[in-house]
């Protein structure tokens, strides 16, 4: 009578991993759809303030980014602790903003150029001095459509107590 014979070995049966690629592909597609390529490597701290009257940036119009903030720790030795401007991948001076806008405009088609929006991504610990200087330069470059990039949240929490 071998009906109740014990299974031999008694080890753990192998787990079926046939569905694993499906799960991974699902994650892959999610990230491919929901994210976009990193445009610039940030060399500054960029923790933006929050606001609740925000509008979505219109993706149909061309956008240029200007980053401002304190240099990250690895650059603090060379560039100091004060807030700096970053254009594309490198630190820049206020006087370079006009040339930067010029080169951004040159890369666009003629009919798109007037719709260029400049998005200012400014760290919340920066002072208005540097932001004001950049705004003045943007006026000189005649790039008047600007957008202060912010997160969403209660704006009054920005004020230090």
């Amino acid at each position: 009578m071998s009906k109740f014979k014990k299974k031999k070995g008694g080890g753990v049966p192998p787990i079926n991993t046939a569905a694993l690629p499906d799960i991974v592909f699902m994650l892959l597609f999610f990230f491919m759809v929901a994210t976009e390529m990193r445009e610039d490597t940030l060399k500054i701290k960029n923790n933006m303030p929050v606001a609740d009257q925000v509008e979505k940036l219109n993706k149909k119009n061309p956008i240029s980014f200007i980053y401002m903030g304190k240099p990250k720790e690895e650059y603090a030795g060379t560039y100091g602790q004060e807030a700096r401007i970053q254009l594309n991948d490198k630190f820049a001076d206020v006087s370079e903003v006009v040339a930067f806008i010029g080169s951004e405009r040159a890369a666009l088609r003629d009919e798109e150029a007037p719709y260029l929006t400049v998005s200012l991504k400014v760290d919340k610990q920066s002072n208005m001095g540097i932001v004001g200087d950049v705004k003045q330069e943007l006026r000189k470059a005649n790039a008047l459509k600007i957008n202060y990039a912010t997160g969403t949240g209660d704006a009054t929490s920005n004020m230090k107590q």
């Binding site: 690629p21 994210t35 600007i146 202060y148």
Partner: protein, 203 residues
């Protein structure tokens, strides 16, 4: 010859390939954060024309000093009260020409929303976070009034229960099926009735 079975393709390493791609995308991409406050800078004016004289009562001065303290019309104010104060100023309707204003009609405050100007001044040491908070509150004040106006005029033009911000999102939304030309006209009308006159002092 006997029919041979097609050998099964070994798909064991597919997961590895997918993982590789997944990790590549995780590292090289960011989730975009594309919200913000849209503003327009004034063009540089080289002309020698004298700027028009503006009555003091039509200007609402907001000063943000280097300690991030808020001085509204020369009085210290908390950021939480700024929105209400700005609404009260814009909605005053002192000269009676504004038909939709519900303010106090105070002689000493603004004449009508078209003449009312908010002047924002900040110092170089002011923190950016505080500046954004103030900008946000002032934009909110305009939005409150525009929303109220939109709910009043909207039903006559066939846009029921739609405030100003909803109108703007609907106008941009390709899936919205209403009359977009009429909506655009209404949005422009409200924008002219309650213009955003927010002037920043360049220091």
């Amino acid at each position: 010859m006997a029919k041979r079975d097609v050998p099964e393709v070994n798909a064991g390493s597919m997961a590895d390939i997918a993982f590789l791609l997944l990790i590549f995308f995780l590292v090289t991409t960011t989730i975009p954060k594309d919200t913000g406050l849209n503003r327009k800078l004034p063009p540089i004016d080289d002309s020698e024309v004298e700027p028009p004289v503006i009555k003091q009562k039509n200007i609402f001065t907001v000063l943000l000093n280097k300690e991030d303290q808020l001085l509204v019309e020369d009085e210290l104010m908390d950021i939480k009260d700024l929105r209400a104060a700005a609404i009260e100023f814009l909605d005053n309707g002192g000269d009676g020409s504004c038909t939709f204003c519900k303010g106090k009609k105070d002689e000493k405050s603004s004449d009508n929303p078209d003449k009312a100007i908010i002047s924002l001044k900040n110092e170089r040491e002011t923190s950016y976070a505080a500046y954004i908070a103030v900008q946000n509150e002032l934009v909110a004040a305009y939005n409150v009034l525009r929303n109220r106006r939109a709910l009043e005029v909207g039903p006559q033009k066939g846009f029921r229960d739609m405030d100003f911000l909803t109108m703007q999102t609907n106008h941009k939304d390709v899936r919205w099926y209403g009359n977009k030309t009429k909506l655009k006209a209404l949005i422009d009308q409200i924008k002219i009735e309650i213009p955003q006159k927010l002037s920043e002092v360049v220091n």
